[in-house]
């Protein structure tokens, strides 16, 4: 996997939102939604981005697709930095990168029938004429497991899971290389989540897709991802394969995040848990040094002053005192 050229390279991506005050809208501060994030996505893999609310994972996804203009940094897709392309060039380039949205109730235009929704991307990019595009829509809707008769329906006539299938079908219409899935299952019933995840997995095999899968749900992330990026307060904490993250996390935050994941086996629920104090600090005033030091159980003096850099080894981690790889005992280096 690492031998291939990355499909997408995110380098030092930053997205700051100005905080304005007063009549003249003076900028008084910045919300650092995404602060110096870098990672690679290889062709054919699923990269999971996990973190709690407000950690910047969705903003990262939207910045990759340039739905948000990055404050700084580059998004290199197949060798081109798409963060700096002109609007017109970017518009044509968008066919290679697609998105599946979180809320299937608001991601489909309520005024347009499913068939037209699916055919529109092909017509808009002058790939096919209307009739041919409709025929293609009829093929794709079956690929995502919906009957053709739904082509004549309006979005409000479909259930959440069905709509999300339409959202996925729409993202497939232009035959993209990369799909950013922004919490694609968290708005769905638990019973539907697995179906949609399976659909995404099947489609990946069938169309050779690459996913960036954003979620706060560890279950979905674990199920679908090959590698995982753990984010906290706009920064990358750790990057590793799913196996490594779940069995041998190196960042204290990852360990705490995993620990908060409910145990399915009731007999194992008695084990002691790591209790974290306090709330996530405001991204408008991130703590000095390591952003996690205010809540980290193993924080030392250096953590409050010096920002830990993401290590460059096979299992990158941004911590002055990463945990050693052993499942039960935690040994600090």
């Amino acid at each position: 996997m690492t031998t291939t050229e990355p499909l997408l390279q995110v380098r030092n991506l930053k997205k700051y939102y100005p905080i304005r005050k007063g009549v003249i809208a003076r900028t008084v501060g910045q919300v650092r939604a995404v602060d110096d994030v870098s990672f690679d996505v290889h062709p054919g893999e699923t990269l999971g981005i996990v973190g709690e609310s407000g950690c910047g994972k969705s903003t990262t996804g939207r910045a990759i697709l340039r739905l948000e203009t990055p404050t700084a940094g580059s998004v290199i897709f197949e060798g081109t930095d798409i963060a700096t392309l002109s609007a017109g060039t970017m518009r044509r380039r968008r066919t290679d990168l697609q998105m599946v949205f979180q809320d299937p109730y608001s991601s489909l235009n309520p005024q347009i029938r499913i068939g037209d929704l699916l055919a529109e991307p092909l017509i808009a990019h002058h790939r096919l004429k209307r009739a041919a595009a409709q025929a293609r829509a009829a093929e794709i809707i079956q690929v995502v497991g919906l009957p053709r008769l739904y082509l004549n329906r309006y979005p409000h006539e479909l259930s959440g899971g069905q709509r999300q299938r339409v959202g996925i079908a729409r993202a497939l219409m232009l035959e993209p290389k990369l799909i950013v899935c922004d919490e694609p299952v968290s708005a769905l019933d638990v019973s539907i989540q697995a179906q949609v995840l399976n659909l995404l997995k099947d489609l990946q095999g069938e169309f050779g897709l690459t996913y960036v899968f954003i979620s706060h749900g560890l279950g979905a992330i674990k199920y679908i991802s090959d590698r995982i990026v753990v984010m906290y307060l706009g920064k990358v904490m750790e990057v590793a394969t799913t196996q490594e993250i779940f069995t041998a996390p190196r960042h204290p935050y990852t360990e705490i995040l995993l620990d908060a994941y409910p145990e399915a086996n009731p007999h194992l629920r008695d084990r002691p848990r790591i209790i974290v104090e306090g709330d996530v600090p405001s991204p408008a005033k991130p703590p000095a040094g390591c952003v996690f030091h205010t809540r980290c159980p193993s924080a030392q003096a250096i953590c409050t002053t010096e920002i830990p850099r993401l290590s460059t080894d096979a299992h990158p981690v941004a911590c002055h005192f990463p945990l050693l790889a052993s499942k039960n005992g935690k040994v600090e280096s």
């Binding site: 739905l67 968008r94 489909l108 309520p110 079956q142 179906q195």
Partner: protein
């Protein structure tokens, strides 16, 4: 319906819903049908719509319906209603009924014409201001502020007196002065709609800005525009009547409800010849009231709908 989805059925089409069940659940096939049904429940609105439809028909078929030429002068002036002149004749000896029927043309064309002009301008500016934001928004909104701080009727009077009173002038002047309301309305809708995921999806799919604006944003912002435009028609009719009454509107030989009313400026007409001024007054009242009821009905049926 979720029961019909089986896990891991991608690539196959075995999640088929029985057609009859789907049809039963999907009675509300289109949002249009839903709106029509809600509108029909509003009785005054339906009555209003019928009256407006009749008025439009009357205006269109005026030459067939009018018993006389509206400008033909008969020997008997200020004659009371009779078999020959159902609503009598006016001070110059013209048939009041025929003038009333032709007057509908003026009112309907001013109402629809002026509103068409200002909805077009307002929608365009509103879309641009709301979608592009930043300085485009600031500039357009400051222009609307300036327009809205004018004493509306005075400006119309002055403009009409400069341009010369005529039907076309009234349509154009009202059209160019009344757009800021619509622009603000559209801007507000666009601001919220452009944040929705389906517009973001449009951007992600690489749609052109006109496609996003006119196919994805405008249709979803249409309800308040339609309602506002309906009330606008009624307002334009009143404005035209007022201007014609003051002699700044449609010029006398041509018939308009407003200039027919102006004959009631004479006290003898007002006190002893009610057939000259009551019919046009009633028609204005009826037209405005009906249109306002239609607007009410549209507001109730369009703006409270939900798709989910």
């Amino acid at each position: 319906m979720t029961l019909t989805e089986k896990p891991g059925t991608a690539g196959t089409a075995d999640a088929v819903v029985p057609d009859s069940a789907a049809a039963a659940l999907g009675r509300e096939r289109s949002s249009a049908g839903f709106v029509v049904r809600r509108f029909l429940r509003h009785r005054m609105a339906v009555a209003g719509l019928v009256i407006v439809a009749l008025m439009v028909l009357t205006a269109a078929l005026a030459p067939l319906l009018a018993p006389h030429d509206p400008n033909q002068i008969f020997g008997s002036f200020e004659a009371a209603p009779s078999a020959d002149h159902l609503l009598g004749t006016d001070a110059v000896g013209r048939d009041v009924l025929s003038r009333l029927i032709y007057g509908a043309r003026v009112s309907m064309s001013v109402g629809v014409g002026a509103v068409a002009v200002y909805v077009l301008i307002g929608v365009l500016f509103g879309l641009l201001a709301g979608y592009y934001g930043r300085w485009v928004d600031s500039v357009i909104m400051r222009i609307t502020d300036v327009f809205m701080s004018f004493p509306y009727f005075m400006v119309i009077l002055i403009l009409v007196s400069i341009l010369g009173p005529s039907l076309l002038t009234i349509i154009v002047v009202i059209g160019f002065l009344a757009w800021p309301m619509i622009a603000r309305l559209v801007r507000g809708s666009v601001l919220s709609i452009k944040q929705t995921d389906y517009v973001q999806a449009g951007v992600a799919l690489g749609y052109s800005t006109p496609r996003i604006l006119f196919r994805h944003i405008l249709p979803n912002a249409l309800s308040p525009i339609i309602v506002n435009a309906t009330f606008g028609v009624a307002q334009a009719i009143i404005l035209e009547s007022g201007l014609s009454f003051l002699g700044m509107g449609v010029r006398p030989p041509a018939a308009s409800w407003g200039n027919m009313l102006s004959e009631a400026q004479s006290i003898t007409v007002l006190s002893s010849q009610p057939w000259i001024w009551i019919p046009p007054g009633l028609m204005i009242l009826l037209a405005v009231l009906s249109i306002n009821f239609v607007g009410d009905g549209l507001r109730d049926s369009l703006e409270s709908r939900s798709y989910t």
